[in-house]
Symmetry: D2
Subunit: 255 residues, 4 copies
């Protein structure tokens, strides 16, 4: 029988010039994959290189984390780009990160869209297709990472690109397996034990308990922990212990 395993990922490299964001150095020891901002919604060339060097040092797998070209909105505002604009804008970002990674001997493994682009990909067929096309044109061996059970998952599979289903350790789900809106109280989990329990439930039983106390199916190969959650490090420690106790391996997803 095969052993249980899970990948833990976190968004990184989001600092810009004098503006620092995240606690990358403290988080690297606990994760197996990191999604590095590519300079359009966050990140800059200097911080990209620095984050890549951190990932290399800690043996953490690297993915490109492109977003809408909107630094002022941190890529969290929907921007109606044409297919041509979006496709080339993503290719540019992925190529930049890929080339910088290779320059220090690191191969990127996947692409995870950021923020509003992530949400758009999860529900909009055209946006999802454009993202997959951009990835495929740069390197068809790259995987894409996105919301478990979403339109994006379906599109990527149809287009022959490996899809990594992602779930969240520190967010509640509704009864349909969608993320509960951040505007509802309790949507963000900041109690480390609860986050760890949710991870175990996803990995072992492929389900979560929803915000409304129902069981919801939830299959995922990677679990995201938000680096900007002030409890990120305690949550990561709790997940770590919980995984060890149950002999669940923490490993990068298989490509």
């Amino acid at each position: 029988m095969s052993e249980l395993r899970i990948d833990l990922n976190c968004d990184m490299g989001e600092s810009f010039g004098n503006y620092l964001m995240g606690a990358d150095e403290k988080i690297f020891p606990y994760i197996t994959s990191c999604n590095i901002a590519c300079g359009f919604h966050a990140g800059d060339p200097y911080h990209i290189e620095r984050t890549l060097l951190g990932a290399k040092k800690f043996g953490v797998q690297v993915g490109a984390h492109p977003g809408y070209p909107d630094l002022a909105g941190f890529g969290r505002r929907y921007l109606r780009m044409s297919k041509m604009e979006l496709r080339t804008c993503l290719k540019y970002q992925i190529a930049a990160l890929k080339g910088m990674a290779e320059s220090i001997g690191v191969q990127i493994k996947y692409v995870k869209p950021h923020g509003a682009l992530y949400n758009q990909a999860a529900r909009d067929e055209e946006e999802a297709k454009t993202i997959v096309e951009a990835v495929r044109e740069i390197d068809p061996t790259l995987a894409v990472m996105g919301l478990a059970g979403s339109t994006f998952m379906e599109i990527a599979s149809n287009m022959g690109i490996r899809f990594i289903a992602e779930a969240f350790a520190d967010r509640r789900y509704d009864n349909h397996g969608h993320l509960q809106s951040r505007e509802e109280s309790g949507a963000v989990i900041d109690e480390p034990g609860e986050a760890a329990a949710q991870v175990i439930s996803i990995v072992r039983d492929s389900k979560v308990e929803s915000a409304y106390y129902e069981e919801v199916m939830m299959s995922a190969e990677s679990i995201c922990i938000h680096g900007d959650n002030p409890e990120a490090v305690p949550i990561l420690k709790a997940i770590d212990s919980a995984l060890r106790e149950r002999n669940i391996l923490k490993l990068p997803f298989q490509t």
Copy 2:
């Protein structure tokens, strides 16, 4: 005896969003190398891809043309960046262009710094070193292109990177082989016959007649024609004829 040959290059891909610049389609038929803006001083992902497709169609060799991160100043204003900022900023730009080129089956061959960065590289050892380091980290088989006889040439050679010496068809030189300031009258050559004569003089005799009627040594493997010179196409046609008459081959520089 080896035949005479020369490479003709032009800056391209400088359009940004709705802002169009240059007449790339009209110039492609006459040149053998094109320097494509990388999105920091000019260019955007959509126009980069479009220009790459044009270069591929016309069989024109491609170089990355990175600049200072200053769209408002078109990369023509000196910006005092730290070595770390400049190095990573250049790596990012070169990697983005290289990856986008490869996605359509084109390999970039060289890097030519743009505008104020070009001028800085020509005279400032530290800036020149940083550029060469950035190029080398992304791909040590890339050449760098710069001002014939400059500090940049010396540094690149010392660092083991192939240097392509460049001269200008449509600019006058002073008695030291430096470009005459654009503020002096006559600094820009817009008479096609004169530009062609200057090219022939450089290619055949390795010299130019300066603005002050002296002979100046000028060895170059590539000749730049400014795409924003309103006379660019007539100049290119005149050069074309002059080269044909003398059986001088118009070919990409040898790497």
Copy 3:
């Protein structure tokens, strides 16, 4: 009996750094109001001042022409900003233009949203309200200009701000008085005589003939001519003649 009069307006000051756009100098003699880009979707401080000086010289009334903060998209892509972000982003742009105008002795008279923001204001109550609030907070004596008969018109009136209804000389309308999509053939009028006829019809009879040959009511105090229409100057000349022949006065709208 009061004389017929009409205001002619044009978008101006859209150049950015080395990227030139529009033929402002050729258009100024024919118009009575100009909408000056404020630096977020187009324009920069240098070109703003230059355009203000042109308006002053030609005695043309000035309005602020703010847009979404998206230079790469020229403000033509919808961006989902929060109410707070949009309101302050507009206040900033209007204040910048107003202050620069006053520094050369010119008072701005109105605000016309640009591109995607213009379209959004025409149909989205919340977006329209936010724009009016921003204008009112900077200067409640400013008018706002927008699509005749739109939601924006209704909101501005309800909020006690003078609204200038605008129609287009060089665009076709559908049977509901909406602009025909640019994707349909014939949507842009480039025959000067037809554009002039449409202007006369709007000014004298408060109606236009739609793209489908029906009469549509169309009341407007200002007529926009697109400066980027290659036929802008011939169209302006034709309108000029047509107005003169009918003794219709070309005057800035009354505030």
Copy 4:
């Protein structure tokens, strides 16, 4: 006999989108003037308004704090702008801040250049003149603030603009009254008692003890405390106590 008085100022409003910077709320209670970033090197419309509202609430005098258009470099990198570019770029920033301030009933009182522009103004006559011209064109009743004893002070006085000489509470000076380079150890004062002593020495005796233990003349009407000094609040508290003990009034500078 007139009472001793001093103005305390701090740079504020430097957050940009999701990137937060500074602890404005904690610093407002201790200062009498604040220099608000104008959106080019730092700050955005939303944070500008928020900071203005804070200044109003705490009764703190407001100045515009414009910088080079270089968000990636936080305005700390010299950028070689033409006189025309710099003058209009400053006018735009000052006008934006002034208009937004007036929209909430606040009048800005002065302009203090930021970062590399501050340093350039202190030693470069042309740059200083251009800044003063920009300020004068927007509003000749505004003061300018800059380094005590600098070229900027001389130029402003010659041009008839009120100059506010500034000294630093938390930086050491050399024997010529110039700031000790941040690269030398001890250049930044982080011991609250020492900072307070330096302030008292400047206010009461118009001198400081240099890094090399010499007495240096130092006349200033305003003292700057760096908000990004981690000891900013303890330093402000220590200055507060020291001023009270000596019956020195903490008041906005007189215009």
